[in-house]
């Protein structure tokens, strides 16, 4: 598949002229992959090295379609400070994290963007301080009295410009929160900063355009129902031809047992679609009736990236409505990292998809869903359960041309769980891979499980104007991969995230790897699964 058409990334269309542009679109920035380091040392600071990394500012139409002011509003300074006050009252995380940092420096070398760029403002603490300095100025006594002493700053255009640059250099991957002695989560700060910027009319084009598409068409890619139906029919034909099995990829089937909600990239992006094929084969082999929904044809929820509760809820509500309309008993989520965090950790709160409710809104749905299954379930949980029950058969040799490793996606690793015990999210995908392939190697433990490095494209940064940042941010993952490529001949990196897949497809070649090295866990399942061909 052609490099330029990685579909989840924004098309490289010329950016709309932005009047009050803090981040003026730069000319096609030079994209440079850093060299692999022999020993991963902590980089020396390169002050302002990423100051030119400017995301495209959303045009008025995109901001307004999501309910934000079109352009930077009059009196934005006071409004931004007031919005900060509102969020401090709504989010304990933000309030506690603004107060608690002691500048110990434990997080300073933990961010992949800092490692890849050396820009000190990409150190988690410095990124937080972009907001904390303003918080101290307006919301603490020492900051009001002695701003210089405590590093407090007025909310000025320069500060806002730095916010727009550097909060759009955070993929909200939460790696820093693992290492902070107080659990300070920079993602919470980044989300709050984005929420504040949106509230005064400064949005990121890529993200707001996508949220607009979800509301208007039903998915991030803007794929309308008839096109979706066509695509799925095509898949059925392909699978029939290849395997001789009449595997179905059903859409909007009322009364199906399972509603599958998956990132829309799965419908036609490479390598994503191979995992979608895999999900269908699993349901087929296990004899489980399932359906996709044209209304909820997107698991992704970019509302989380901009820290906007209402948007996140509005996007999630499509899934609740689809489940009620279709009368399904189970809701299953496909391979998508941030979507799984939203589904696992937030859906019960946002939409009542889950258990343990005592209010009518949530009970309405919860009494429809089958309590014998976790709601929602991850597709990997479904597949692993079936494997353990002996309901799936595999020809593992079919994957013998692959030496496989697994990249833990940040939102799955540090923001969710699978199965019944803490850490199931690490074991279940690996268990599946070992059940369907003979050759498996883990990457360095400093870069896997909860210490995993972000792919470099998460958090709403998967857009072409940020390619240089994305390539540099991938450095630590690429180094860990390179080691096992050299030592063990690994030639396939499996992952369960649409953004990881799109990001690596684009970024791998900059480091001298083939873009086809990355793929889904269910792509491996799809290769090895034995189907009953007589149906």
């Amino acid at each position: 598949m052609a490099d330029e058409t990685t579909p989840v990334a924004a098309a490289p269309a010329p950016p709309p002229a932005a009047k009050s542009a803090p981040g003026k679109p730069t000319e096609k920035a030079k994209v440079v992959a850093p060299a692999f380091r022999e020993y991963p040392t902590i980089p020396a600071l390169k002050i302002d090295s990423m100051v030119e990394s400017n995301p495209y500012v959303a045009a008025a139409v995109h901001n307004e379609s999501v309910g934000f002011p079109g352009t930077l509003v009059e009196g934005w300074e006071q409004k931004a400070v007031a919005k900060m006050g509102e969020l401090l009252g709504k989010y304990r995380s933000l309030k506690v994290y603004m107060d608690s940092c002691v500048h110990c420096g434990a997080c300073t070398d933990k961010c992949h963007y800092f490692i890849g760029t050396g820009d000190p403002k990409n150190m988690p603490v410095a990124r937080q301080d972009l907001m904390r300095s303003v918080y101290r100025r307006y919301y603490t006594l020492p900051g009001k009295l002695f701003p210089k002493l405590v590093g407090a700053r007025d909310m000025t255009k320069d500060v806002l410009d730095d916010w727009f640059r550097y909060y759009n250099q955070c993929s909200e991957c939460r790696r820093c929160s693992v290492f902070c002695p107080y659990g300070i989560d920079t993602a919470e700060v980044t989300m709050a900063a984005k929420e504040i910027m949106h509230s005064v009319g400064l949005g990121h084009k890529y993200v707001n355009e996508i949220i607009g598409k979800v509301h208007k068409i039903g998915n991030n890619l803007g794929l309308p129902g008839p096109a979706l139906e066509n695509t799925l029919e095509g898949l059925e034909e392909d699978v029939l031809e290849e395997t001789g099995a009449a595997v179905k990829y059903p859409l909007d089937v009322k009364g199906a047992e399972v509603l599958l909600v998956t990132p829309s990239a799965d419908f036609f992006a490479e390598p994503h679609v191979d995992s979608l094929i895999g999900y269908g084969k699993v349901f087929h082999a296990a004899g489980i009736s399932w359906t996709l929904s044209s209304k909820a044809s997107e698991a992704g929820n970019f509302g989380m990236f901009i820290g906007n509760y209402e948007q996140m809820q509005k996007i999630a509500m499509r899934v609740r409505e689809a489940a009620l309309e279709l009368g399904v008993k189970r809701i299953v989520v496909g391979e998508c990292g941030h979507a799984w965090r939203v589904a696992y950790a937030f859906w019960n709160t946002l939409t009542g998809i889950g258990a343990g409710a005592n209010d009518p809104f949530a009970i309405q749905l919860q009494k429809q869903l089958d309590p014998n299954y976790k709601q929602p379930s991850h597709i990997c949980e479904v597949t692993w359960d079936l494997i353990q029950q002996g309901r799936l058969k595999f020809n593992k040799e079919a994957n013998d041309h692959r030496i496989v490793t697994f990249h833990d996606s940040c939102n799955v690793a540090r923001g969710s769980r699978m199965g019944d015990y803490a850490g199931g999210q690490f074991d279940i995908p690996r268990n599946i891979i070992r059940a369907v392939a003979n050759h498996y190697v883990d990457m360095s433990e400093a870069t896997t499980r909860e210490k995993t490095f972000c792919c470099g494209g998460g958090g709403g940064l998967l857009t072409d104007e940020l390619l240089d940042l994305r390539v540099k941010g991938a450095l630590p993952r690429m180094e860990a991969l390179n080691r096992i490529v050299q030592d063990n001949g690994v030639n396939f990196m499996a992952t369960i995230c649409a953004i990881c897949k799109a990001q690596f497809t684009k970024v791998l070649p900059y480091y001298g790897f083939k873009m086809s090295m990355v793929g889904g866990v269910h792509q491996l399942v799809s290769t090895a699964i034995v189907l009953n061909n007589e149906q």
Binding site: A44, L45, L88, G89, K90, Y91, R92, S93, K95, V96, Y97, D99, S100, C101, V102, H103, C104, G105, A106, C107, T108, P120, V125, A126, D129, P142, K148, L149, V150, G151, S177, V178, F179, P181, Y182, G183, I184, D185, Y309, Q313, A345, F346, N348, T349, G352, G354, A355, G356, A357, D359, A362, K374, P376, A413, R414, G415, R417, A422, Q425, E450
Partner: protein, 241 residues
């Protein structure tokens, strides 16, 4: 001078207790609308209590993060804890046997505390990344703590003060009697810095102490699929849907 310090201590105590109590109340009343524990996280509240215990007592996350900061930070905090416990002997009569037992350790814990502080301060100059993030207040805070430790150690080991009189001063304060404080420059310095620390505690980064207990990434149970978690302000959106 005795009256001056007596008033200072009354004011500082009020600010410290009132300020921290207000902060804790403020943290407690602010909702955490979403489940955001950093996973893998405990799935039971007993597990969360154990996770918190490990963070508070052993600085577990910091240990995973950076051994230098952990070693120096832990040395300082454990030293400080022992020193504080030892100082309870100046506020109680008779002295509890546990406090009496700690006495010999507490004396030398002052050195551990000062060593840890000096190491942490050195990092602020020597490590480029930490130099970059340090504000003047970060340096002053360390200077203040180190000053308290050093003046305390000086009085213990070099230029003794009339400690019996000091004790009688503080026992007196607790029943609103002002007994004479020994005229001793080291003591004045020591107590003055302690008062300053008490006053800035509720408006500074020292709030990390109560803050840790309210950190949602550390204190939440990982059970979002099993229990519905809804903040009052977020529940209002449901009426619209």
């Amino acid at each position: 001078m005795s009256l001056f310090f007596a008033i200072l201590f009354y004011i500082a105590t009020l600010i410290l207790a009132g300020g921290v109590a207000y902060r804790v109340y403020d943290y407690a009343r602010t909702p955490a609308p979403l489940k955001i524990p950093t996973t893998p996280a405990p799935t039971t509240s007993g597990g969360v209590a154990f996770r918190m215990f490990r963070e508070v007592v052993f600085f577990e996350s910091l240990f995973k993060s950076n051994l230098w900061i952990w070693a120096l930070g832990w040395l300082f905090h454990v030293g400080l804890a022992l020193v504080l416990l030892r100082h309870l002997r100046y506020f109680t009569e008779p002295v509890n046997f546990i406090i009496a037992f700690i006495q010999p350790f507490g004396m030398y814990a002052g050195f551990a505390m000062a060593t840890g502080l000096a190491g942490l301060w050195a990092r602020r100059f020597l490590v480029e990344r930490i130099r970059y993030i340090s504000t003047p207040s970060d340096h002053l805070m360390l200077a203040l703590l180190l000053g308290i430790a050093v003046t305390g150690l000086l009085m213990k080991f070099v230029m003794h003060t009339d400690i019996v009189a000091v004790k009688s001063f503080f026992l007196g304060l607790m029943v609103f009697e002002i007994n004479p404080l020994p005229a001793h420059p080291g003591l004045y310095l020591h107590l003055g810095m302690v008062v300053l620390l008490m006053i800035i505690f509720p408006v500074s980064k020292l709030l990390h102490a109560p803050g840790l207990f309210f950190s949602p990434t550390r204190n939440q149970v990982d059970n979002p699929r099993e229990t519905r978690h809804l903040a009052p302000w977020a529940a209002k959106f449901e009426a619209k849907n």
